[in-house]
């Protein structure tokens, strides 16, 4: 009966327009996403090219190993390609500044610093996974050993990380990524030239040279990463904004 009455009433009377609907909606507290949700959402915003290049490099290494075996020349080819992975990673981290999104991102709840840290974290893990994968594939096929091979492959990568971050931390231009691209090309060519010209570069007697270069570039890269994070934290880059 009640249902029938309600139905009848609806047909007889028009419902009044809601009064102060917007004000009421504004009072409602909507549930907010937590930090984990935010972290997961950011994975989706990493560009496809990062995943594609990482996958291509891994597949390329597999194909190369199948056809040519793990020679010294194959090691320098892989080590000359790895800096391009770091270039894609760094361009992803510096993307906010490149595309002038930095000011908007800085004003958000999860600001530019947090976005940058999450990008560094996700991409660092991806790069490490690709690197370890390649290392595992190659180390079983050569007599270089896991650590030595790791140093040979990672030193040009670290040099590029240092060079590119050095540029990003000091440049105020939004075209920094192009300069980083030039740095990467230079590192890759230099690595190829050294490996071709000095054919005993991977021999046991040069291990001190490699160890020193590896430690030096690792420390310098780390310093530049810290500087990059501090730059976001201290808002020092703001001096580049117009008054």
């Amino acid at each position: 009966m009640k249902y029938k009455l309600k139905k009848e009433l609806k047909t007889v009377f028009d419902a009044p327009a809601p009064a102060r609907k917007e004000e009421f909606i504004n009072l409602l507290e909507y549930p907010k996403a937590n930090r984990l949700d935010f972290f997961i959402s950011q994975i989706g915003y990493i560009r496809k090219r990062v995943w594609i290049l990482s996958l291509l490099l891994f597949i390329g290494t597999l194909i190369g190993l199948y056809f040519s075996g793990a020679s010294y020349s194959f090691v320098w080819v892989v080590s000359s390609v790895l800096p391009f992975v770091s270039l894609v990673t760094i361009s992803e981290i510096a993307r906010s500044i490149t595309y002038n999104m930095d000011e908007l991102e800085m004003s958000c709840k999860y600001n530019l610093l947090e976005v940058s840290l999450i990008r560094i974290g996700i991409l660092g893990v991806v790069n490490l996974a690709v690197f370890i994968g390649i290392l595992l594939l190659l180390s079983g096929k050569t007599d270089l050993g896991f650590i030595r091979l790791g140093i040979y492959l990672s030193t040009p990568y670290l040099l590029n990380c240092y060079g590119s971050l050095f540029v990003i931390n000091r440049s105020k231009s939004r075209d920094t990524v192009y300069i980083c691209g030039s740095v990467t090309a230079l590192v890759s060519i230099l690595n190829s030239l050294i490996s071709i010209r000095i054919y005993d570069i991977y021999l046991e007697r040069n291990r001190m040279f490699w160890a020193i270069a590896f430690i030096m570039f690792a420390v310098l890269s780390l310093k530049e990463i810290v500087k990059f994070i501090k730059r976001m934290e201290d808002l020092k880059w703001n001096s580049s904004l117009t008054a």
Partner: protein, 296 residues
């Protein structure tokens, strides 16, 4: 609801961009009016926590500008903003929703609502790079509203909008000012005149006047004159009085100017408007530019 700005300053190497600005803002629309380079953008950036002040502080209900809680209550439209090239309007709003801490479902709902509000529903799936300046500006306004902010800071929100769009946004901003603090900067005087409950006039990094329209134009009330004069009188008046408007009419010149008393017998006192006050205060700069570009 109270936004307190206390002795806020920004000092660059050889320039004081903002000089000890102190304000207390409550619900309503505040129009920040000033010439280019007067410090409007710098002040707004500091209020949004995007720029670190040299000294002073900004607090909203006791929450400092550097805190996450403050940013959670903030909506900001910068004067110039970019976008990732692969983004559509929908992606752009979803991305910024994630940064503003909205849940996925809420972000989708809010994005659709706001795209409708700013009239971009039809092009929601189109790349932003294909948008006109006005469309980008509308998208910028939509992103500022994603988190239903309590403090809304809009730097030149009507720049690039056509007259119809400007009127729509003026109405929207007026509505928004009912239950939040809206601070907007512009040098389009009519925008401020129509929507701002309080006008802040900024010059050389300082707030030189603040108050409602009636109060702010009081200093030049009864001092604005219009006259139609011959060429020689016009030259004399232009050289000696702050000129608001000049128009050539056949063999005579029409002038609108500011003077303590009638500057010539043809002059008639007229009602002062905000544009008169603005041009009066920024007249020196305008004259300097004219000299610089050789305009006489």
């Amino acid at each position: 609801m109270e936004l307190v700005i206390d002795r806020l300053s920004k000092h660059y190497k050889n320039k004081m961009a903002v000089d000890r600005v102190s304000l207390t803002l409550k619900e309503g629309v505040y129009g920040l009016l000033g010439a280019n380079g007067s410090g409007k953008t710098t002040l707004m950036r500091m209020i949004c926590g995007v720029l670190k002040p040299t000294s002073g502080e900004v607090k909203f209900n006791g929450i400092d500008v550097s805190e996450e809680k403050f940013r959670d209550l903030l909506g900001y439209l910068p004067q110039d903003f970019g976008y990732y090239p692969e983004f559509t309007a929908y992606d752009f709003l979803l991305y910024l929703s994630s940064l503003k801490g909205l849940t996925r479902q809420r972000a989708k709902d809010r994005t659709s609502e706001l795209l409708k509000l700013v009239g971009l529903s039809d092009v929601a799936k189109k790349k932003i790079k294909s948008f006109s300046g006005g469309m980008k500006q509308r998208l910028g306004i939509a992103q500022a509203l994603l988190n239903n902010p309590k403090i809304l800071v809009l730097d030149e929100p009507t720049a690039g909008l056509d007259p119809n769009e400007r009127v729509r946004f003026r109405n929207l901003i007026s509505r928004l000012g009912k239950d939040r603090i809206v601070l907007l900067s512009t040098h389009i005087v009519s925008d401020v005149e129509y929507i701002a409950s309080t006008i802040l006039l900024m010059k050389n990094g300082q707030i030189i006047h603040k108050g409602p329209l009636e109060e702010i134009i009081r200093p030049i009330e009864g001092k604005v004159f219009e006259c139609l004069v011959d060429c020689n009188t016009a030259e004399y008046l232009i050289a000696n009085y702050p000129i608001i408007n000049v128009r050539e009419e056949k063999d005579k010149t029409f002038l609108r100017l500011v003077a303590e008393k009638a500057p010539c017998k043809e002059a008639k006192a007229v009602t002062a408007v905000l544009e008169d006050l603005y041009l009066y205060y920024f007249n020196k700069e305008a004259n300097k530019s004219e000299q610089l570009y050789g305009i006489n």
